[in-house]
């Protein structure tokens, strides 16, 4: 009898990554790092608000001219946006699927409950929900200007000041920026762990880097509405 020499077709790379928990976490880590990279440059740009309306509005205008003349006006932003949208969706979908799995793996709680984990670790899931809602609000407020008080296209500085002159604008923004700091604190370290970058020797440095970046991001973003409230930016 001849030996069976045909082997079934191996599963595709994407398929096996998507089906495995470690693969899904890799997707979470990479999409998270894409969003974090964007956020760092976003903070850099936003801090130009402290140099006045001309600087800030000029910077916003320049963003639309990146890549010219090869790219048409504004195309650069339209290249970035689908990438970010894909990152947000992949991050959210994998987080949802993994969370459902995690909850199912521990259906019965211990009768003797201990307070465990850091605050940032415990709040990753709800923090993610808060940030998703914030992103929607933020786009409606300062990109599409749908809910902005002033809503003057081409004048982001004035729109920003208008948004941060309302109590709800400040409350939503500051809450979300605290959430983003907590999310980065645990998320960046987790991404290093998931991507296999972490090691016994690097653990301390990675934790310091995560905490440091989280603090810089939160404080950096929050400094803007606080400055509007204090009248430093108007």
């Amino acid at each position: 009898m001849a030996l069976a020499t045909r082997t079934p077709r191996p599963p595709s790379l994407i398929g096996s990554v998507w089906r495995s928990t470690v693969g899904k976490k890799t997707i979470m880590a990479v999409s998270g790092l894409i969003m974090l990279g964007y956020l760092v440059s976003h903070l850099f740009g936003n801090l130009k608000v402290f140099f006045g309306a001309d600087d800030f509005n000029g910077y916003a205008h320049w963003l639309r001219t990146i890549g010219e003349p090869i790219l048409h006006h504004g195309w650069f932003l339209w290249i970035v946006r689908p990438v970010l949208l894909a990152a947000v969706i992949l991050h959210g979908v994998t987080a949802y699927q993994l969370s459902r799995r995690d909850l199912a793996a521990r259906p019965q709680k211990y009768a003797h409950q201990r307070k465990e984990q850091s605050y940032a670790t415990r709040t990753m899931r709800w923090g993610g929900v808060i940030l998703t809602l914030f992103i929607i609000w933020h786009i409606l407020d300062l990109t599409t200007l749908t809910v902005n008080e002033r809503a003057e296209e081409g004048h982001p500085y004035e729109n920003l000041v208008a948004s941060f002159s309302t109590w709800y604008g400040n409350t939503i923004y500051i809450t979300a920026m605290i959430a983003v700091g907590l999310h980065i604190r645990h998320g960046l370290w987790s991404a290093a762990q998931t991507l296999g970058v972490a090691s016994a020797r690097r653990t301390r440095a990675l934790k310091i880097a995560s905490n440091g970046l989280a603090l810089v991001m939160s404080c950096g973003f929050i400094s803007i509405p606080v400055s509007v409230m204090l009248g430093l930016v108007d």
């Binding site: 495995s20 995690d102 009768a111 003797h112 201990r114 762990q193 296999g196």
Partner: protein, 252 residues
Amino acid sequence: MRLTLRIWRQTGPDEPGAMTTYEVDGISEDMSFLEMLDHLNEELILGGDEPVAFDQDCREGICGACGMVINGQAHGPERTTTCQLHMRHFNDGDTIDIEPWRASAFPVVKDLVVDRSAFDRIISSGGFISAPTGSAPDAHATPVPKAAADLAFENAECIGCGACVAACPNGSAMLFTSAKVVHLNVLPQGAPERESRVLDMVGTMDAEGFGGCTNTGECATACPKGIPLPTIAAMNREYLRATVKGGKRRTG
């Protein structure tokens, strides 16, 4: 010592269970935790009651058979196995909560006994090396770098007790699986199956219904053998490497 024990009693896998309170007296601080339970069981048997079922074997902290969640901590307040935990770490008059490992992949068999055969299935899917049988090879036939030998030994210390799964809020077996994967993958003897091992063992781990890792670090804190958290990162690295290299699974 006099203690109040609140112990999870469950007569069978599909029966409902509940925390039941017992008072025990005459406990010596030199007793191990299991000896304290033996003492309770003797009284229960004399009184005509069903003794508390729990897993145990070597009572030396090296077999991994025992394990229970004591006051919300896997293996109790000391970094050791339940059999090597002594009553001197408790005070006279304490109330102690004793529960089985909680994870859907570790169903309760009876009282404090859980079925940990999911770990065996993870091992049998890749936690071995394929070596020809025969007489033992010369000790120096396969040189092993010192650093690799040390790392392999650190991970080989895992006794498969399941405390990592019990401590993890997600009931994840990542610390166990990573210890087994890293133990063999860093050694030259494990190299031929390096890719299939990690893919198969992670695949089995997922199929058994364990949760994923959210890097809370609870597992490494509970581990009586001190398997460190970066071991999980090392397995993730092996997994990604195997995936990128197009490694094939032997099973599944």
